[in-house]
Amino acid sequence: MTVEQTIESRLVEGFSPLFLQVENESHMHSVPPNSETHFKVTLVSDGFEGVRKVARHQKVYAALAAELEGPVHALALHTYTPEEWQQRQESAPDSPDCLGGSKRESQS
């Protein structure tokens, strides 16, 4: 299973999402081709009702702890309740451009 598929299956299992999109954005960063290091997750779930954003992200991080300790370097998270998702007209923000931090890290 690819990292992307693993992330997807863990989130489906943990959050019974109404909408889930896992995007591999590694190509936007200074890593080798076909890497699975940078991901963007958009997750809409009833389970986020009444839960603050920080706590929502912590729940997702907990579900993906093994991946974050391993291959995953960056995880952009957009977590919404079904109502918030409707208010946003079902769209999540774009991720920022890379500034080459990974290059500097591999040197250090």
Binding site: V54, Y61, A76, P96, L99, G101, R104
Partner: protein
């Protein structure tokens, strides 16, 4: 000093503190850059720690805050969030009052 104590001290002694990759003038990561931009737009001074130059902090802060990635914005000793949350708060107008209030409390402390 133990690294966890160092982090605790940083978080408690700086009412607005950003852990980031690079510096506000030269961010080394798009997520850090975007967060700095949102924070600077609030018009208050803030402290920062470059986690690329402080590998101990980088390795241990995730455990301290139960948050695995950078940047991390801490206000009044509490984790506000990373890039996605801070950007969202800036867009919804929640960020500036939080930052203004924290700056005011630091000034009177």
């Amino acid at each position: 000093m133990d690294i966890m104590d160092t982090i605790k001290e940083q978080v408690e002694n700086n009412s607005i503190l950003l852990y980031m990759k690079g510096s506000p003038n030269q961010p080394q990561c798009g997520f850090s850059a975007r967060t700095v931009q949102a924070l600077m737009a609030c018009g208050e001074r803030f402290a920062y720690v470059d986690v690329l130059s402080n590998p101990d902090v980088r390795a241990n802060l995730p455990k301290y805050g139960n948050w695995p990635t950078f940047p991390q914005l801490w206000v009044n000793g509490e984790l506000v969030g990373g890039c996605d949350i801070v950007t969202e708060m800036a867009e919804s107008g929640e960020l500036q009052p939080l930052i203004k209030e924290a700056a005011a409390s630091q000034a009177t402390a």
